[in-house]
């Protein structure tokens, strides 16, 4: 008798195990609302990016100007080249723009357009700091988070109206959404994981992002310019821990980026003197 009912217990466990497995293998995300990336092709995203850039940062009457400086451009080129050389299957031709603004922030616009505020360059202490943030932003672009966020927040019809030459108020709204709203936690975690992997492939220390986040958390009370970055990039302890727990492959070596970061800081003082706050002088 005893033996028989234990066989029944085993059958019961197997039946419910099968029910669990059956529900788990159904691709639920595709049953939910379709993701933006499924609705907007890469070609359309590139076009969307071009329109948004032309109507905003690259527009002659833009409030926030793109900084053009040979020294800065070459520094950005050195840092981004290291990452892009090791990027597998890039979806876009990446463009990086340094914009004169004291906020410590960087964000990705559709079509592989990445905006770096001069405040971020000033906050970074090494070229590797910048590389870690940009690897994260490239992750958002490669995973198509930007277009997914825009479609989810504004709807597909708004995106299509921009593509068909929508009016300036719509474009402003799209830009505002792209720049000011945060990604979901899952997206941030995915972009972080992408960043760790890209940093490793580029022979850079994947834990750099955790050091960067820790420094931001530490200094946020003293520096109001950090609030925007923290509102769009929630740097909770789990993200810091994920970076620290990332395991690099055997034989991984760190090759620092050969770039004198003090030159970048000096150049920033010249090209964006009013925007980058000077440390208080002690007399």
């Amino acid at each position: 008798m005893k033996k028989r009912y234990w066989i029944d217990a085993a059958k019961l466990i197997v039946v419910f195990g099968i029910i669990w497995a059956a529900f788990a293998i159904i691709p639920w995300p595709s049953i939910h609302a379709p993701k933006g990336a499924d609705l907007v092709s890469i070609e359309r995203e590139k076009k969307l990016g071009t329109i948004l850039m032309e109507q905003s940062i690259l527009s002659p009457d833009a409030k926030e100007k793109v900084i053009h400086s040979p020294k800065l451009d070459s520094a950005i080129f050195i840092v981004t080249s290291r990452l892009l050389e090791h990027l597998d299957h890039p979806l876009f031709t990446y463009h990086f723009y340094v914009v004169e603004k004291k906020d410590v922030n960087a964000f990705t616009l559709p079509g592989g357009n990445i905006i770096i505020y001069s405040g971020l360059l000033d906050f970074c202490q090494t070229p590797e700091d910048l590389a870690a943030v940009l690897a994260h932003e490239i992750g958002h672009a490669q995973k198509r988070h930007v277009v997914t966020k825009l479609v989810n927040e504004l709807g597909l019809s708004i995106m299509l109206s921009v593509l068909s030459g929508g009016n300036s108020s719509i474009i402003r709204e799209v830009m505002r959404t792209a720049m000011s709203t945060s990604f979901s936690r899952d997206m941030e975690a995915e972009a972080d994981a992408f960043s760790f992997s890209l940093m490793e492939k580029s022979n850079l220390d994947p834990t750099t992002l955790s050091d960067f986040f820790r420094r931001m958390k530490k200094e946020k009370d003293n520096d109001s310019n950090l609030s925007e970055f923290l509102s769009t990039h929630p740097s909770n302890t789990d993200r810091i821990r994920a970076a620290l727990e990332y395991k690099t492959a055997a034989g991984f070596t760190i090759k620092p980026i050969s770039l004198d970061w003090s030159v970048v800081k000096e150049e920033l003082k010249k090209v964006a003197p009013t925007k980058v706050e000077e440390p208080a002088s002690e007399e």
Partner: protein, 168 residues
């Protein structure tokens, strides 16, 4: 069959009083009442069933069988519901875990299990109120053995007489 492998006879409906039938039915109804009161903490129904079982275990075998079956059958489901609530809290409040297909599958499997349990709970409550036995898969035979096996009721007196020490 040895003496201690024998089972007490299963009571028939006409041998049971109205109170015994109602008490047996109460084992299942208690579970539903407590389930509603206990949400989202799925432990309350288990505590209520344990109390109800202990209040009724000295009652007739019929009542003891049904209250015991109601109690043991909800232990795995309560534990699984607890796991689901804990998993959900980690996702929704602490954001330390993420919704994935394992969680969705687990939650839906539990939904099926809870609906089945509700259906079988109602069936068994009705059966119990009519003085009928009703055996769940696995839990039914287990409760039957626990309650009706004669050996489980025999209380052996401690041995006081022993052989002479020189021989043993």
């Amino acid at each position: 069959m040895e003496e201690n492998q024998k089972y007490f006879p299963v009571p028939q409906p006409d041998e049971l009083t109205r109170k015994e039938k109602d008490d047996a039915m109460g084992g299942y109804l208690m579970m539903f009442a407590a389930l509603g009161a206990g949400l989202p903490l799925p432990i309350i129904n288990l505590i209520a069933s344990i109390i109800y079982y202990h209040m009724n275990k000295s009652n007739s075998l019929f009542v003891k069988f049904h209250t015991y079956q109601a109690l043991v059958s909800q232990i795995p489901l309560t534990l699984a519901n607890g796991v689901c609530v804990f998993w959900g809290i980690r996702i929704a409040i602490f954001h330390t875990w993420h919704v994935n297909n394992f969680f969705i599958g687990f939650a839906l499997m539990l939904l099926v299990a809870n609906i089945l349990y509700l259906v079988f709970g109602i069936i068994s409550a009705v059966k119990a109120s009519r003085g009928r036995m009703y055996y769940y898969w696995f839990f039914g035979p287990m409760a039957y053995e626990k309650v009706f096996l004669v050996a489980n009721h025999v209380v052996k007196a401690p041995a006081v007489n022993h052989p002479p020490k020189s021989i043993s």
